[in-house]
Symmetry: C2
Subunit: 493 residues, 2 copies
């Protein structure tokens, strides 16, 4: 299976693409830029969704569903929103097909032209705020805490599976509040939810920060983000949480009667993560043998592979496996017994390595004799023989899964530490961005012009102004102008 | 809240629309024909989804995700599919907007015209079978058992919330099999899953049957369906399961190497239910006071409403409610304590009636004294005072919820029995379809011409040929030609 998977060191980009396809995560579809998420890949996404959904509900949010289509005129209601967003979208202009004259194909019915074109949602602020106008009259209607799981479309010329696709799946939270402070608190709360999810479940350490004006969401007053470091030294924005101020409330005229009898515009937030997280998960941990999944998101946490020559041997192993499976399931561990006789054990080993199953248990005739199993960890590729008389298998496995979860996180954390460099001169910046990559922590004079210039010269952007930025006076890496603290630069996905 | 909800007997259609809006289930959006599913409505849909998803997985299916867009040419590959389907769709012709010359709005960029138009999926057989071509080579790849949760778009001129909307949410299963029989078995299995879900969870009795050729899915050899009876005597198709034969395999050239070394086209099925089920759920059980929800799908199963004058009374009631809540939660019962002081008890009673909460518990000062509670059932609108010393509250409530679930089902079952009439003459048919409605069980000569004629004359269609149809020779209700069994006619949603 993994035969011929390209090496990361030789062609990282090709390694990624091949891994995504061969591990049955996703593939390109017949529609340019749109992917098919395959069952195995989708089962990982489902685990992500379930956990995030739980965390959204624990913080008081409800799900709802808003239309796929947005009337074209909505996009120009919030001035900066249209500037930053409305350009590369799928536009619906007609609502009917008809048979061609030769009867062999279908053509667009020219008589079924829409009066106003509809845009397939690239994000839903406009259609949702137009709805909120009807839902919000009084302070009693606030806060309004709503999330939507949906597909969105942004027309992309250059696409990569999960990382940048024309259609992708995501969730978008849209909340409305009575005060500025409450909306800011919500924005930060959801950023923290994302960070906790990334670190605790995906085992991906993230930097929490605020975007510079250049990278801010179109229509937001502030965009908060979490940024992760990939194995090739490039950064990946894994989630964003926007403080919208009163911008959309003003654009869609959403006011509420205050407790004191006044009438004020509502304060808003929006926040989202997408199937892009799948790309981050894959790139953060995987190796030249294939996927490495953190146990908390692995659809199969443990695979048991029997090694046998005769039917009798198989039966004995299956018997023993059955006991182990029952014990593991009692602890909520997902386990798969691969009894296929169409494939050899070695082939199966490689397949589950490719698919990133955290723990592999092999059982052969000698193991039966000795009451042992062979346990192999996917993350470290190490094996050990375990004497079943000396352990409780369910405790052993669940501790091992916890250990793997921690080890994967620590490895990514150490890698990021190694890949984060404080840079104080422009020469050093130019050199490191080419040779080492990673996060370059450097002073910046705070202007968009400088940021753009640096991007032009190096392809590096300001990933964020970290929330834990230290006050430190310094000189801008490019202009030498005064700066009050370091920001993180990187090339990014 | 429910003040002014129209009566079913006066205007059933208006009653339905108002109920959907006032119970916070859904509303019309700014986009013609597209609905907004509001948080309360969506939480019911989520419960439906969770249960169906479990049942799909228990029968061996995995979820995946396929593109929203379908290249126009795909629609004409399966001849009967395009005949029956491809006409009323949203057509994407452009992929970019640009600012208008005055800078005040956006216009479609005429230079960004797609070479081939894309259709927003009305259903995904074509795009999925074009993918299956790559996934299926050998008998080892079969069966392929995949489901997708997705939004779909069918341009509708006359829409009704949940029942017929331009965009709706659904699941579509798409499976591929090595043999005709296996595919038929899958089709029937999924019909049975739908029927079990409708009856056990929605408390809606359904007739399982096969569609006549006229009502068959475009591209199917056979369409199986479940049909439910609404309170106004109209039928509602609640789910369909299609045996596709080799039609899509042939259209997209999907072949597999058999065990015996041959090469054959694959056999297919597809099956789906949609947010239309919400409409069925609402219309089957609700009354003039509002929604009636079966406990198994109610987001809130029990609401506790305190009745008090002083803060001290409230505190004592809250204390007692806390104990009850803990006990109910230990049994997995979802319970909400409405402690709002902005609304009077009577207002809350009406609100939870409107929203269909199955059981209401009220507690006042006298209840505290007597160690009692007042329990009101939503379905029967009956109340009783319960002495807490004589019961285990958690057992009492969970038995009561089971009883309500059964009672609602039985009521719907009896109603349907009453609304199913064996009809033997055309005059009787004409009379009953106008006066009583419901299912008319009648003989039919098996021809499409007769079916169409009956539809023209009465607006009644053949809902299905029941799977449990008895062999009985008779004469067609319209033509008098010979028939071997009765079929079910009705006017339908
Ligand atoms: Zn305004
Ligand atoms: Zn063929």
């Amino acid at each position: 299976m993994s035969k011929g998977l390209p090496k990361r060191s030789e062609d990282y980009s090709l390694w990624y693409n091949e891994l995504v396809k061969r591990a049955d995560l996703a593939e390109n579809s017949a529609v340019r830029g749109c992917m098919v998420i395959k069952p195995y890949g989708y089962s990982i996404w489902e685990k992500m969704q379930a956990q995030l959904d739980l965390m959204f509900k624990e913080t008081g949010h409800s799900n709802a569903y808003f239309p796929l289509f947005i009337p074209k005129s909505f996009l120009s209601k919030e001035a900066s929103h249209v500037e930053g967003f409305a350009k590369e979208c799928a536009v619906v202009t007609h609502y009917r097909l008809k048979n061609s004259e030769d009867g062999k194909s279908v053509i667009v019915d020219p008589e079924a032209k829409l009066e106003e074109e509809l845009i397939v949602r690239p994000t839903s602020e406009t259609v949702i705020w137009s709805t909120y106008k009807n839902w919000i009259q009084s302070y009693r209607d606030l806060p309004l805490l709503v999330n939507q799981w949906a597909n969105v479309v942004r027309w992309e010329m250059r696409t990569r599976l999960f990382l940048r696709t024309t259609e992708f799946l995501w969730q978008e939270g849209h909340t409305a509040h009575a005060t500025r402070q409450e909306a800011i608190d919500e924005t930060v709360q959801m950023l923290n939810v994302y960070a906790e999810f990334a670190e605790t479940f995906m085992a991906v350490p993230v930097v929490k920060g605020v975007k510079s004006a250049n990278e801010r969401f179109a229509g937001a007053e502030d965009t908060y983000c979490i940024e992760a470091m990939m194995q090739d030294g490039k950064a990946l924005q894994a989630g964003t949480s926007h403080f919208l101020g009163q911008n959309f409330a003003k654009a869609f005229d959403v006011k509420f009667a205050t407790k004191e009898g006044g009438l004020e515009h509502v304060w808003g937030t929006s926040w989202g993560v997408s199937t892009r997280l799948m790309g981050a998960l894959i790139m953060a941990h995987s190796d030249d043998n294939g996927l490495v999944l953190p146990p908390k998101l692995a659809p199969i946490q443990v695979v048991i592979i029997p090694i046998y020559k005769t039917d009798e041997e198989f039966d004995q192993i299956a018997e023993k496996a059955k006991e182990i499976i029952a014990k593991l399931k009692s602890k909520g561990i997902s386990v798969h017994f691969d009894k296929r006789d169409t494939h050899k054990p070695g082939w199966k080993f490689a397949e589950y390595e490719l698919k990133g199953v955290p723990l592999r248990i092999a059982m052969g005739p000698r193991d039966l004799e000795n009451n042992t199993i062979e346990v192999a960890r996917r993350d470290t590729l190490t094996k050990e023989t375990v004497d079943l008389a000396l352990i409780q298998i369910e405790d052993y496995v669940s501790e091992m899964l916890e250990l793997i979860q921690k080890t994967i996180y620590q490895k990514a954390f150490d890698f990021r530490a190694e890949m984060t460099t404080e840079v104080n001169t422009w020469d050093e910046f130019l050199d490191l961005i080419e040779t080492k990559g990673g996060f370059l922590s450097a002073h910046w004079d705070g202007t968009s012009e400088t940021e753009e210039k640096i991007k032009e010269l190096t392809k590096a952007t300001i990933r964020c102004i970290p929330l834990d930025q230290k006050e430190e006076s310094g000189k801008c890496i490019l202009t030498g102008n005064p700066s009050k603290g370091r920001v993180l630069f990187a090339r990014a996905y």
